[in-house]
C-alpha cells in the first residue's frame, strides 16, 4: 500500500535537487501511495484508556483532499453569513467555520455506513457526509430542491442514505438519539458505529448521562464526540461545568482529549474510537475546537470573548492553515496552486448559490406532505379549517 518511510526520505532529496516542473507536481498531489508521516500538534490525553500514537501516515492525495474539503466548508459558511445578512436565509443560522477539522478528520476515518448525528451546527457535517453545496444553500433559502425540500431549514439537514441523521434543534437531544442508532446497529449485527456530536453546552445535559449509562451497560458501539468550542452560546465552559474535562465526564466510560483543530489528530482519534467501540462499547472524544462566528447569526460573539482571543486562535490554530503549511512544507503544491484551488472553490460556491436562488419555493401542497408515513386518509387543516384542508395519504 504505502511506500515505507525510507522511500519518503529518498524522494525528499530528489525534490530539493531537481527543479520542479508543474507536471511533476500535479502528479504528486494526486499521489495516493506515497506515505507522509505527520505528527499531531499535541499528544492525545487518555481517560481510562491508552491513547493512540501521535504519528500518523497520510498521502499527498489525502492532504489535498483535506485542504479542498475544509476550504469548501469554510467558504460555504462565510457565504451563508452574507446570505443571512441579505435576508435570504431566515430564522436561525449557526455557523461552523473554525471547526472544519472535526468534520473532515472524522470522515477520513469512517465509512458512510457508520452513522453521524449532530445538533444544529450541521452544515459542514452534511457536506462531509456527501451533501452538495446546492442542496445546502437551497435548503437554507427554503426552496424546493433543498436537502429537506425547504421544510427543515438550517438546523434540520439530513442525508440518511449516507448515514447522516441530522440536524437537531434541542440541545442534547441528539445524544440519546445517537446512542439509539448504535443500539440499532448492534441489534442488527452490523459492524458499524454511531458518532453522536454535541457541544460543551450540551455536555451537561442529564439525558446524555442517562443514555451513556445504557450504552455502557449494553456495550453499544456509540462514540460521543464533544465539540468543545468553549462557549455554550454566551456562557464560557468554566461557568457552566464544574468539570470542563469533558473527555473524563463519562467516568467509567473511557475518553480521549483531541486537538480538534488538527484534522489528523481527529482522524486518528476517530479511527481509534471506532475500533474501541466495536469491541468494548462507548467512548468519549473531546475535540478541543473553536468557532470564529458567534453562537448564531443573532450573536455577535464578541460580548463574551475578546477579539484578541478570536484572532489569536485564527493565527495560531486555524485548521485550514495547518493543512496548507503541511502541503507547502512537503512540496505537494505551491502557494499559488493552493490559492487557485481556493479561487475555484469560491467560484463553485457562488455558482451553487446562483443555482439555489433559481430553485422555486416548495409547492403549497407540501404543507401537508410527510406528516405521517401512513396517514390513513385522515383530514388535516390549514389555519382556516374550512378553507384549507387536505387528506393525509
Amino acid at each position: 500500500m504505502a511506500l515505507t518511510h525510507r522511500s519518503t526520505n529518498l524522494l525528499k532529496p530528489l525534490s530539493a535537487a531537481v527543479p520542479f516542473t508543474s507536471s511533476l507536481r500535479r502528479l504528486f498531489s494526486t499521489d495516493d501511495a506515497t506515505a507522509i508521516t505527520v505528527e499531531t500538534s499535541v499528544p492525545f490525553t487518555g481517560h481510562k484508556c491508552d491513547p493512540p500514537p501521535r504519528t500518523i501516515d497520510t498521502t499527498p492525495k489525502e492532504l489535498m483532499t483535506f485542504f479542498r474539503d475544509m476550504a469548501t466548508m469554510r467558504r460555504m459558511e462565510i457565504a451563508a453569513d452574507s446570505l443571512y445578512k441579505a435576508k435570504l436565509i431566515r430564522g436561525f443560522c449557526h455557523l461552523y467555520d473554525g471547526q472544519e477539522a472535526v468534520a473532515v478528520g472524522m470522515e477520513a476515518a469512517i465509512t458512510k455506513k457508520d452513522c453521524i448525528i449532530t445538533a444544529y451546527r450541521d452544515h459542514c457535517i452534511f457536506l462531509g457526509r456527501g451533501g452538495t453545496l446546492v442542496e445546502a444553500f437551497t435548503e437554507l433559502m427554503g426552496r424546493r430542491d433543498g436537502c429537506s425540500r425547504g421544510k427543515g431549514g438550517s438546523m434540520h439537514f439530513y442525508k440518511k442514505e449516507s448515514g447522516f441523521y441530522g440536524g437537531h434543534g434541542i440541545v442534547g437531544a441528539q445524544v440519546p438519539l445517537g446512542i439509539g442508532l448504535a443500539f440499532a446497529q448492534k441489534y442488527s449485527k452490523e459492524e458499524h458505529v454511531a458518532f453522536a456530536l454535541y457541544g460543551d453546552g450540551a455536555a451537561n445535559q442529564g439525558q446524555l448521562f442517562e443514555a451513556l449509562n445504557m450504552a455502557a451497560l449494553w456495550d453499544l458501539p456509540a462514540i460521543l464526540v464533544c465539540e468543545n468550542n468553549h462557549y455554550g452560546m454566551g456562557t464560557a465552559e468554566w461557568r457552566a461545568a464544574k468539570s470542563p474535562a469533558y473527555y473524563k465526564r463519562g467516568d467509567y466510560v473511557p475518553g480521549l482529549k483531541v486537538d480538534g483543530m488538527d484534522a489528523f489528530a481527529v482522524k486518528q482519534a476517530c479511527k481509534f474510537a471506532k475500533e474501541h467501540a466495536l469491541k468494548n462499547g462507548p467512548i468519549i472524544l473531546e475535540m478541543d475546537t473553536y468557532r470564529y462566528h458567534g453562537h448564531s447569526m443573532s450573536d455577535p460573539g464578541s460580548t463574551y470573548r475578546t477579539r484578541d482571543e478570536i484572532s489569536g486562535v485564527r493565527q495560531e490554530r486555524d485548521p485550514l492553515e495547518r493543512i496548507r503549511k503541511l502541503i507547502l512544507s512537503h512540496d505537494i503544491a505551491t502557494e499559488k496552486e493552493l490559492k487557485d484551488i481556493e479561487k475555484e472553490i469560491r467560484k463553485e460556491v457562488d455558482e451553487a448559490i446562483a443555482q439555489a436562488k433559481e430553485s422555486p419555493m416548495p409547492d403549497p401542497s407540501e404543507l401537508f406532505t410527510n406528516v405521517y408515513v401512513k396517514g390513513f386518509g385522515v383530514q388535516s387543516f390549514g389555519a382556516d379549517r374550512k378553507e384549507v384542508r387536505a387528506i393525509l395519504p
Binding site: 430564522g91 427554503g142 431549514g153 438550517s154 442529564g206 457552566a240 419555493m361 403549497p364 407540501e366
Partner: protein
C-alpha cells in the same frame, strides 16, 4: 380599563399592604391631576424588564434564573441590566439544562423563595415539563396546602420567523389544561407589565407565555401603568375593541391580528368585538359568554395546533352556557395541523393570517365566501 388592584396585592405583611393602599390612593389623585393625556410609548421588552426590576426591588425573595439571563443580558434582552443591579445571587446564569434548573427553581419555591425561571423559548420547557406539572402545579393540592409554589416560568412562546418545527410550538393549550397552574399570555406593554407583576406576586405557579415577535413592538402606556404598584388581575380578559356583530377571542400576537381584522370588517359593515384573553387559565368564561350573548357569533383565534386547542375549550364553554344565543357555528382559526415548515411560503400557510380571521367572521355573519374544495 386599567385596574390598579388596591389592597388585594399580597405583599407579605400587613404594613406593606396598608402602605400600598395609601400609595395607591395618592397615586390616583396624582394621575388625575398632574398627567396630561399625551401617552408615552413603551416596548413590550422594556415593559417586561421594568416589571422584573420593580418586583425584584420590592421583594428580596424574587430572583431570576435561566440561560444567558445575567452576563449576556438575556437572550432577548428581557433581563438587561438586572445582573448589574442585583448581583449574581439574584440573577443566576444556568447551564443548558432545563430539567435540572426548573427542578431547582421549584425546590427553591418550596422553601419560600420566589423564582422567575426563564425558558429561552417554551419549546425547551418540554425538557422540564415534569417539574412544571408534577412538582409545581400539583404540590399545593397533594400537600393539602402545605407546599405552595410561588414560581413564574416565563419566556417566548409560539411561532417566531423561520425558526422551523422544533422552535415554533405554542404551549398555551397544554399548560392551560393543567389544574394548579395559572397561565397568562400578555399582548400589549400594559399587559406585559401588569400581568408579569401579578404573576410574580401570585402564590401559585404561573406559566407566562410571551411572544418573541412582540418584544420590539411599542404600545402607548399611561402613567398608571408605569407606576411600580400597577398590577392586572389574573383571570380577567380585556375587551380591546367593542362591537356588536361578532366576537373574536385571541391572545398574544393574534390580538393584534384580530384588531386589524376588525378594522377591515368595520369597512364592510361588520362590527367585531375583540377580546384579549390575557389569561388562558383561569379562562374568563364570563366575559366571553357575555360578549357572545351580545353578538351571537364567535371566532376563536390562536397560533397553536387546532386539535384540543384553546379555541376548542372556548367553543365548548360557550356551547355549554350560551347555546341559545349562538346564531352561527363557532369558527376556529388556529395554526395549521402540521409541524411548522421552514420555507417562507409554507410557514405563511401554517400560521393564521388576518384574512383568515376576516373570512371566518364573514362566514359567521352569513356573508360567506364559497368554501374551497378539499386540497
Amino acid at each position: 380599563m386599567l385596574g390598579i388592584v388596591r389592597g388585594r396585592i399580597a405583599r407579605g405583611g400587613v404594613n406593606a399592604s396598608s402602605l400600598q393602599k395609601i400609595r395607591n390612593q395618592s397615586l390616583i389623585y396624582a394621575s388625575s391631576r398632574s398627567y396630561s393625556s399625551a401617552s408615552k410609548e413603551m416596548t413590550v421588552r422594556d415593559a417586561l424588564n421594568s416589571a422584573l426590576d420593580e418586583e425584584m426591588s420590592a421583594d428580596p425573595k424574587v430572583f431570576v434564573m435561566g440561560e444567558e439571563v445575567g452576563e449576556y443580558q438575556g437572550a432577548y434582552k428581557i433581563s438587561k441590566g438586572l445582573l448589574e443591579k442585583y448581583g449574581p445571587e439574584r440573577v443566576v446564569d444556568t447551564p443548558i439544562t432545563e430539567a435540572g434548573f426548573a427542578g431547582i427553581g421549584v425546590g427553591a419555591a418550596y422553601h419560600g423563595l420566589r423564582p422567575v425561571v426563564e425558558f429561552m423559548t417554551f419549546n425547551f420547557s418540554m425538557q422540564a415539563i415534569d417539574h412544571i406539572i408534577n412538582s409545581a402545579a400539583k404540590s399545593n393540592y397533594m400537600s393539602a396546602g402545605q407546599i405552595s409554589v410561588p414560581i413564574v416560568f416565563r419566556g417566548p412562546n409560539g411561532a417566531a420567523a423561520g425558526v422551523g418545527a422544533q422552535h415554533s410550538q405554542c404551549y398555551a393549550a397544554w399548560f392551560g389544561a393543567c389544574p394548579g397552574l395559572k397561565v397568562l399570555a400578555p399582548y400589549s406593554s400594559e399587559d406585559a407589565r401588569g400581568l408579569l407583576k401579578a404573576a410574580i406576586r401570585d402564590p401559585d405557579p404561573v406559566v407566562f407565555l410571551e411572544n418573541e415577535l412582540l418584544y420590539g413592538e411599542s404600545f402607548p402606556i399611561s402613567a398608571e401603568v408605569l407606576d411600580s404598584s400597577f398590577c392586572l388581575p389574573i383571570g380577567k380578559a380585556k375587551i380591546e375593541r367593542e362591537g356588536k356583530d361578532v366576537t373574536i377571542t385571541a391572545f398574544s400576537k393574534m390580538v393584534g391580528y384580530a384588531l386589524k381584522a376588525a378594522e377591515i370588517l368595520a369597512k364592510e359593515g361588520i362590527s367585531a368585538e375583540v377580546i384579549n384573553l390575557r389569561s388562558i387559565r383561569p379562562l374568563d368564561r364570563s366575559t366571553i359568554n357575555a360578549s357572545v350573548r351580545k353578538t351571537n357569533r364567535l371566532i376563536t383565534v390562536e397560533e397553536g395546533f387546532p386539535q384540543h386547542g384553546v379555541g376548542a375549550e372556548i367553543c365548548a364553554c360557550v356551547v355549554e352556557e350560551s347555546f341559545e344565543y349562538l346564531d352561527a357555528p363557532v369558527e376556529r382559526i388556529a395554526g395549521a395541523d402540521v409541524p411548522m415548515p421552514y420555507a417562507a411560503n409554507l410557514e405563511r400557510m401554517a400560521v393564521p393570517q388576518i384574512e383568515d380571521i376576516v373570512r371566518a367572521a364573514k362566514r359567521a355573519c352569513y356573508r360567506s365566501v364559497p368554501m374551497a374544495a378539499t386540497a
